[in-house]
């Protein structure tokens, strides 16, 4: 191997070089901006975690697994996993081996940015060596891998269903420029290297091209044209990158340490959130996952498009999309980069201004009389609309001989979650404070909650000293495990629906299933646990009207009917009411289902 040109430069490298310089400048400025936006405490946290060996190792591992190999995507969808990792990992290896080659054969040129990229143009082969052939092979091999990924990517644009995606993202103009230039890069590289394969050598990919088009290829006039095109494609991609979804490539490298440092979103488009926004690759997995995708007109309000509007700082659309969201958290569950869309949306909601002020000073005069007991039951507002739930709970409590009392018999103070979901934290604080004082002065040891919505706010926002907050699914399962609540097993098949706030919100998946399996047979739903589908009744959405919710509920009911259950069971009064309007089978509350197992 030896150099063909003494100066080691040709004007065709300029598009690439300029593009590269642009991207690097952009990313460095962006990095400084994001880090400066962090609070002092967060910055310190981030710095500390970078130097902690365990964390540093985790960062490296995550970068390798997430950025290059796309392990999570492989697990969810192998076809998509192959497509993404072949391009990312293949390209990465091309860059790595390009540098190794440069380093071995022309160490003095290793400092030039463009040299490893256009190595084959600047080099000439004198004689075959094993070492040289190894590199020829490796480079062609990874080129093939990347090209296969590109081919799949093209096919995905035509038939996304082949990859198990019903819908993919509608790309913006810059996304398209990025996409088409990315598609162009590797075929052009192949052709360019094919041109020089007669001079610089090559392997199974480039040599055949060279031989096949011998006359055309060996014309030196055409050689520079091919390399110009390759460089222009690279340059175009680099210039489009910061304004397109391909910004996720550099942004994820920043996001991973931030995530591992345990930072929290504090502003919808600053600091940690900004890093997340730029890491969104617009893959569109969240579109199919979103319960609102049951009707077409809502597709444009899914998370991937929200991210785009946040990038553009379109306040009107950001607010509208955020207010429409059911806040079920499913997009976050399926997201490859685990974009914290729930937190980002909450921050958008909290920044919204309202014309109407709310006053809750009358709460001071509210002094309920509550009996003394070990278990304090908080039924919540929805329970007055589903009296069967309350009845069944009382039946179960007395069957287990528990000393209990109800906190909100005949009316009580709201748990505060609807206000929090509307972004009105300050107003909710009044309720949280009032309820806290009622609960703490009651002398109870356990706060029993039968509504998943209330349960989440009790868990997340209340600080109750010395009191265990338990959802009734946890509590009754525990009573059964301890043998205090005895039930008989029947033959009914129950399909259990994971309420959003209980499952994805609080991570409770097993207790209700364990308890239900003691009274009957569990009939699995098509999508369940973390992937369960919102019932459509969620109080999370502020603007979705009844008509829009109907298709969501119908789709969710269909999901529950997957294995022909006798009953749909849910552990949230709102899901129950919503389902029972459209379900062909009986919908019962978790406590009602357990009562099936009590001796009559």
């Amino acid at each position: 191997m030896r150099e063909r040109f003494l100066i080691g430069f040709d004007p065709f490298v300029l598009p690439f070089l300029l593009g590269m310089a642009f991207v690097l400048t952009y990313c460095i400025i962006g990095l400084i901006r994001v880090v400066l936006q962090l609070s002092k405490a967060d910055r310190r946290k981030l710095a500390a975690s970078l130097f902690k060996p365990a964390n540093a190792w985790k960062n490296l591992r995550d970068m390798f697994c997430d950025c290059l190999i796309h392990v999570k995507l492989w697990k969810r969808n192998p076809k998509l996993g192959y497509m993404h990792s072949s391009i990312a990992f293949g390209w990465f290896m091309l860059i790595v081996f390009g540098h190794i080659e440069t380093f071995i054969f022309v160490p003095k040129k290793a400092g030039l940015f463009y040299y490893p990229i256009f190595f084959r143009y600047f080099m000439e082969m004198e004689n075959y060596s094993l070492r040289g052939s190894f590199f020829f092979f490796i480079m062609d091999f990874f080129l093939l891998i990347v090209l296969s990924g590109i081919l799949l990517a093209m096919f995905k644009r035509i038939r996304s269903r082949f990859f198990g995606m019903r819908r993919t993202t509608r790309l913006s103009i810059t996304d398209r420029i990025g996409l088409y230039s990315l598609w162009a890069i590797f075929p052009l590289r192949w052709i360019a290297e094919g041109f020089t394969a007669g001079i610089a050598g090559g392997s199974f990919m480039t040599i055949p091209i060279n031989l096949l088009l011998k006359n055309f290829m060996s014309n030196p006039e055409n050689i520079t044209v091919a390399w110009w095109l390759y460089s222009i494609a690279l340059g175009t991609f680099m210039f489009a990158l910061p304004f397109s979804r391909y910004m996720h490539i550099p942004a994820e490298i920043l996001l991973i340490p931030m995530k591992n440092a345990g930072l929290k979103v504090y502003h919808p488009r600053k600091g940690f959130a900004l890093a997340q926004i730029y890491t969104c690759p617009s893959c569109g997995v969240c579109i199919d996952a979103c319960p609102m995708s049951a009707s077409r007109q809502n597709l444009k309000d899914t998370t991937v498009y929200l991210v785009r509007q946040i990038k553009r700082n379109n306040a009107r659309r950001m607010n509208a999309m955020t207010e429409k969201c059911l806040m079920c958290g499913k997009c976050q569950e399926v997201c490859q980069i685990a974009l914290q869309s729930y937190d980002i949306r909450m921050k958008i909601r909290e920044r919204a201004t309202y014309n109407v002020g709310l006053k809750y000073d009358y709460l001071d005069s509210y002094k309920p009389e509550i009996g003394k007991a070990k278990v304090l039951y908080y039924a919540g507002c929805m329970s007055s609309l589903t009296p069967n739930t309350g009845r069944s709970i009382k039946k179960l409590l007395s069957a287990a001989r528990i000393s209990w009392t109800q906190m909100d018999e005949g009316g009580g103070v709201c748990c505060g979650r609807p206000l929090i979901l509307a972004g009105r934290r300050q107003e909710a604080a009044a309720m949280i404070e009032k309820n806290t004082s009622i609960i703490e002065s009651s002398g109870a040891q356990i706060l029993l909650v039968s509504c998943a919505i209330c349960y989440r706010v009790f868990k997340e926002e209340y600080k109750l000293k010395g009191i265990r907050v338990m959802h009734y699914t946890e509590y009754f399962n525990e009573l059964m495990e301890e043998g205090r609540l005895k039930v008989n097993r029947g033959a009914l098949r129950y399909a259990y629906h994971d309420p959003c706030d209980l499952g994805r919100g609080c991570g409770i998946y097993e207790e209700p299933r364990e308890a239900l399996s003691r009274v009957g047979i569990i009939a699995p739903a098509e999508k369940e646990r973390a992937l369960s589908v919102c019932c459509g009744g969620s109080v999370g959405s502020l603007t979705l009207d009844h008509e829009d919710r109907i298709p969501i509920t119908q789709a969710s009911v269909q999901n529950m009917l997957f294995s022909n259950p006798d009953r749909i069971v849910t552990a949230c009064p709102l899901c129950m009411k919503t389902f029972s309007r459209y379900s062909p089978v009986k919908v019962v509350d978790f406590a009602e289902a357990l009562c099936d197992g009590l001796e009559k």
């Binding site: 007055s384 609309l385 589903t386 009296p387 069967n388 009845r391 005949g410 009844h546 009411k577 029972s580 309007r581 459209y582």
Partner: protein, 336 residues
């Protein structure tokens, strides 16, 4: 010449009247009824508004003269085949009937009150429906009705309620509620009777008089506002929360009996037949006729006729008039 068969599906008042008229016009009507007796919902009612005519008397009148009508009870439709010649109706007893004209009179069903769990039907002891009350008027036996002192009627249970999947007005329940409120007051003169309504739709002739009598003679208290929730205390009394929207005040009261005025939904067989015969239905599930004003008894398909409450809520006299109209239409179609 042998008399021509005409199949009528549904043996309620409408089906019976269609069949009787077709017979009078010289056909052999074949009347198919799912239940074990003819009469439909009329069998379950005690008296009819506005004059309080006994439902049984009307039914006796209708079923008393069925000579020349072939009627079958306890039959379910298995399938219906459509051909150029007309329809072949196959039923589960193994029989099948050929007919050139098919009349569908499958009627309605009452909204299942259990679906509005907040009102506590089948959960609380003293919550009943309008149908239960009619039954009580007839039999005077119901363990839930024990000399009530305070009684509430809830209008629009499962009607005009999108969350109950029924946006439409059921039309007849307002008048029924006024009638039942007066009747129960007659039975229990000391009781205080409340009606919780959102709008009172007393559209028919002399219905307004019925309403005024209920207020003046029986002292029924009409409260404009919906009941939001119902709960039960230890001795079985009902706690009702509602809003008086005219006073703009929330109200709470204790009641001994709560009557839910369940609305009208398309009957199960209406749904079944709409699938079987591909009859167009509205969003509310009732059949859509070819022309709602000019041809309310005809479906889009030639030879298919419909009448009664399968095309929307109706009173008994309206149903009977439509039945006669349908019979005439069938006759015109067959003698073409």
């Amino acid at each position: 010449m042998a008399k021509e068969n005409v199949v009528v599906i549904g043996g309620g008042p409408c089906g019976i009247e269609v069949a009787r008229n077709l017979r009078d016009l010289g056909y052999t009507p074949i009347l198919l009824e799912q239940q074990s007796e003819l009469g439909g919902h009329l069998r379950l009612w005690d008296r009819l508004f506005p004059e309080g005519v006994e439902a049984r008397k009307v039914l006796k009148e209708l079923t008393g003269d069925l000579k020349g009508v072939k009627w079958f009870t306890d039959v379910n439709i298995e399938s219906i085949e459509k051909s150029r010649k007309g329809y072949t109706v196959n039923v589960d007893t193994g029989m099948s009937f050929q007919t050139k004209a098919l009349v569908v009179t499958t009627g309605f069903k009452l909204f299942p009150a259990e679906n509005k769990q907040e009102y506590g039907y089948n959960i609380y002891e003293r919550v009943i429906t309008n149908a239960d009350l009619e039954q009580y008027f007839h039999t005077r036996k119901d363990p839930r009705i024990q000399n009530p002192k305070t009684i509430g009627f809830v209008h629009c249970v499962g009607s005009r309620d999108e969350k109950a999947c029924n946006r439409q007005c059921s039309k007849v329940c307002c008048a029924t509620a006024v009638k039942q409120a007066s009747e129960i007051k007659e039975l229990f003169p000391d009781a205080i009777v409340y009606c919780f309504y959102m709008d009172l739709r007393l559209f028919g002739r002399s219905y307004e008089d019925m309403y005024l009598t209920a207020q003046r003679k029986y002292g029924v208290r009409f409260i404009r506002g919906r009941v939001s929730e119902v709960s039960e205390d230890i001795d079985g009394k009902l706690f009702v929360k509602a809003e008086d929207t005219l006073l703009g005040k929330p109200m709470k009261m204790k009641l001994d009996l709560l009557v839910l005025m369940t609305g009208i939904l398309p009957g199960d067989s209406t749904k079944q037949l709409s699938e079987m015969l591909k009859i167009q239905t509205g969003e509310d599930g009732f059949f859509t006729p070819r022309d709602t004003i000019l041809e309310p008894c005809m479906a889009k398909d030639g030879g298919l006729f419909m009448a009664g409450t399968c095309t929307g809520p109706k009173t008994i006299p309206e149903t009977l008039s439509e039945a006669r109209a349908a019979a005439i239409q069938v006759h015109k179609y067959l003698s073409k």
